[in-house]
Amino acid sequence: MRLPLLAALVACIFSWPSAAEDAALAPNPVPLPLFVEQTTSSGLSHSFTGEWEFIVGGGVASFDCNDDGKSDLFLAGGTSPSAFFLNQSPQGGDLKFVPQTSGLEMDMVTGAYPLDIDSDGIMDIVLLRVGENKVMRGLGECQFADAGKDWGFDGGDAWSTAFAATWEQGAQWPSIAIGNYIDRTQEAFPWGSCTDNWLHRAGPESFDPPLPLKPSHCALSILFTDWNRSGTPALRVSNDREYYKGGEEQLWQLKPGQPPRLYSAEDGWARLRIWGMGIASRDITGDGLPDYFLTSMADSKFQTLPNGPQTPAYSDIAWSKGLTAHSPYMGEDKRPSTGWHAQFEDVNNDGLADLFVAKGNVWDMPDFAEADPNNLLMQKADGTFVEAGQTAGMASPDHAARGAALADFNLDGLVDLVVVNRNSPSQIWRNVTKDAGHWAQLQLAQPAPNPDAIGAWIEVRQGESLQRRENFLGGGHASGQAGWIHFGLGSNPEAEVRVIWPDGTIDPWRKIAPGFSQITKGEAIETWILKP
């Protein structure tokens, strides 16, 4: 590990930023992000494999299932068995993962999202599959068992590619949305054969039968999100225009006890038709509303509401923000890019959320880049972004990335990165950014139901600076995570936090210390320290 680290540091010193970027960053010097690949040394050995039915998918779930505070990993395998890895990384040290039989080993898995479905305090997990989806009950100590029958969950038989979960107001059980792709039995004319997405709504003690969300347009990413801060999340759906006819991006209104209703042009919904593949969300513009980054091919969108939350009339400001992942930024291959998982996280702890985009060719598409590097778009003080993937060391252009997760695997306050590649080994990088800023990582808890407070908003204030993020479960590309919620604090260690809980309860502003904090509704904030 030492040689790659040294090489990366040398690259950092001499190669980043470029002349043009240097000029852009000069007034506001920021810590330069740096990642070191530790795939082999960490023990994370796994591949997502498959042909046509696995051109999409390839997800990873990051979550703690043995209560040690460290995020363990579950990786989808496609035609290969999926795999679970226990996180044994020492705090502040190199990454270390150990494969462990968990009950989650099965084939045809496209993606996974962790969720405490039965609110028993033990994390469960939902597996998306080509075939029957599975809800797996956490038994403790990272063991799982199929709970479909017990929970009344009809896994169906489809090509499932997207997931989102929420707790509707008053519900004792989560509502789960599953995004489905095309009818895989159609060979010569698969176009226009998008199968229905499903809404598994909460019943009294289990799930109701799945409700088809008509029309469905081949979703590759879905997300329950409170787009207008009304207190009631809606379902944002990003669809792949390759296969739908008459389709577009979608936003479903979900009011408790009422059937889902699709927002339309009459509501102000602006029609958008892209190769939608992944959703990332964060309030980047600082208007108090979630913004959405959408991955696609040769293009990407960054959607904001310039006229406020009254109507879902989104504008695309990707280009003006520098939030584009349209073509490779390094190497000789200049063909258009293909974007998949996207996630906002502050990788250098400067107090500004950055954007990671996983990239990779669909499958021998000659008009798109084969050598397609992952993006790491660093936010600058002026709110625009600049590419840093090459010098940060996680570009990995020779692999076709799909799903990913950014999480602090070694609890050193720096967000690390795991990426699932199609038909080649998954990769993991340790974040070794030097001179990174202060940080706070928070964990929310509240009494059942919804013990992890899915749907809460967390706000961190430092003087005039205010960061907001929604505690959602969904989006990305077939990849979900639970656990520490990360905020970079920059050079100022002092910060205040406020949680707006899913039921609308608003906490007062309270000071938090840098480091790990557990915030339980109605209780004092507790500092968390890794048990020896």
């Binding site: 010569a188 698969p190 390759e242 006819k245 040769a298 280009w319 200049k334």
Partner: protein, 477 residues
């Protein structure tokens, strides 16, 4: 296989009369590739004919009846081609038009070579070499066509994605199974070899026209915009579209017209920001129309929007119209092949001519002018395409398509267009091809993406191209 039925008729009638009649009947439908000379070698012909008939009857005794219809082969492959155009990322309208042309020509060449009274387009289309001759022997026209289409589609859509590749393979497999059923292996082999040879011939010829290689989805990696307020600037927030699409397409080798500049247009109204100018008036018309769009006008704009990646594109829309009419009227393979070839050539030459004019005048789009001078918040109904404005490509190619179809089917030929029913847009009825072309052209005004001059003169340009295509001689006198 027409020869099978004919052979059975021959078998039941007095030999001399039937031999002569059968030869005539046979010659009307299928060219015999042996030494046919009715005047000098009637007996030889009769002998060979009877031998063939006997072979066929013998074959029928041991094989299932063969009923593959070339028309069905054509219909299935074109259905797939329309989907592939929609789902292949490089397939902007100009690129799509080119493939429609060459695939149509390949279909025509295999059909004409097997049908008496039809002529090759070689010698009429620019730089097109003579197609391969049919080696002596029996052919099955459905197998020939299947082989030609399979090879041509695989080539022209070789860059489509994994789902398209899977679909092409499935179509080839399915159609092959259908057409070869009951046929003698040597007939299948000979027919397939010939179909592939014609496809290869057309593909090789097409490679030198300037349009075979499309990089970065048609957007140049380097391009310098012209200075000046009249000239095109990007109207898109997509980074790839900050430069215009396919700026060199107008220099491609056309098919029926001599060059891309063969159907020139007068200049658009002089650029002016003076409210009293003709140019300002054209922009004002776009703004006013957009402000008062009726539901019907919105429907028209969307019906003819024909966006790449979301539809079969404008040229595919007209191919779809032709296919619907051919199916409705149960047209035979010869008529279908002629229409698809002429229409493909017309739309392909249209995009070359139109692009030649677009980059000659390099005019800005209405949205640019209107936001600059009239209404900063102007939002056209349709997404403004990423290339210069004058003339309207849809207008040019619709004018040409209507000219070709009118030439074939006649004036006041009513039809229903259900191209976009799958996308939720209802079918529309038209009293004539010209009416449909005019509506397609006007849809660009409703959509807020073209000025009036680009629409009217685009139609004129299309008619000019249509005349070149109409002059192609495809049948014997």
């Amino acid at each position: 296989m027409a020869i099978s039925a004919t052979a059975l008729v021959v078998w039941t009638r007095p030999l001399a009369i039937q031999c002569f009649s059968a030869a005539l009947i046979f010659d009307n439908d299928q060219v015999w590739n042996g030494p046919l000379d009715l005047e000098g070698h009637l007996m030889t012909v009769c002998f060979r004919w009877l031998r063939s008939a006997l072979i066929v009857v013998a074959t029928l005794s041991f094989s299932p009846a063969h009923a593959a219809d070339p028309q069905q082969v054509l219909t299935q492959w074109y259905r797939l081609v329309l989907e592939l155009v929609r789902h292949t990322p490089t397939y902007s309208p100009p690129v799509a038009s080119r493939s429609f042309a060459y695939i149509g020509i390949a279909v025509w060449e295999v059909t004409a070579s097997g049908t008496r009274g039809l002529q090759s387009l070689s010698g009429q289309l620019n730089a097109m070499p003579a197609p391969p001759a049919r080696p002596e022997g029996s052919y099955d026209e459905a197998v020939v066509l299947q082989a030609a289409l399979s090879a041509a589609v695989q080539d022209f859509f070789g860059n489509t994605g994994p789902t398209g590749q899977r679909a092409i393979a499935a179509m080839a497999r399915t159609q092959h199974k259908i057409v070869v059923a009951g046929l003698a292996p040597d007939v299948v082999a000979r027919s397939e070899a010939y179909g592939k040879a014609v496809a290869a011939h057309v593909v090789a010829w097409s490679a030198g026209d300037g349009g075979a290689l499309v990089e970065n989805m048609g957007f140049p990696y380097e391009y310098t915009l012209q200075d000046g307020p009249a000239h095109w600037v990007s109207t898109s927030a997509i980074r790839q579209q900050q430069v215009p699409l396919l700026p060199g397409w107008g220099k491609n080798r056309p098919l029926a017209m001599p060059s891309g500049a063969s159907c020139p247009l007068p200049a658009p109204p002089d650029y002016s920001e003076d409210p009293a100018s003709a140019f300002y008036a054209e922009a004002k018309e776009v703004l006013d129309v957009a402000a008062a769009l009726t539901d019907e006008q919105k429907l028209i704009a969307r019906f003819w929007s024909d966006d790449p990646m979301l539809s079969p594109t404008p040229p595919g829309h007209w191919i779809s119209i032709a296919l619907q009419i051919l199916a409705r009227d149960k047209a035979g393979i010869a008529a279908s092949a002629e229409i698809l070839a002429r229409l493909g050539i017309a739309v392909s030459d249209s995009f070359i001519a139109c692009w030649d004019s677009k980059y000659q005048y390099d005019l800005l789009r209405p949205v640019t002018y209107i936001r600059r001078l009239m209404d900063p918040a102007f939002q056209p109904l349709l997404i403004t395409p990423p290339f210069p404005e004058y003339p309207s490509g849809h207008s040019t190619q619709s004018g040409a398509a209507a000219a070709v179809l009118t030439e074939f089917f006649g004036q006041d030929f009513a039809f229903t267009d259900a191209t976009h029913v799958d996308d939720g847009l209802p079918a529309r009825d038209y009293p004539s091809f010209d009416a449909a072309a005019s509506e397609a052209a006007l849809s660009r005004l409703y959509g807020g993406i073209h000025f009036r001059a680009a629409i009217d003169r685009g139609l004129d340009q299309g008619r000019c191209i249509g005349a070149y295509v109409a002059a192609l001689k495809m049948k014997d006198d």
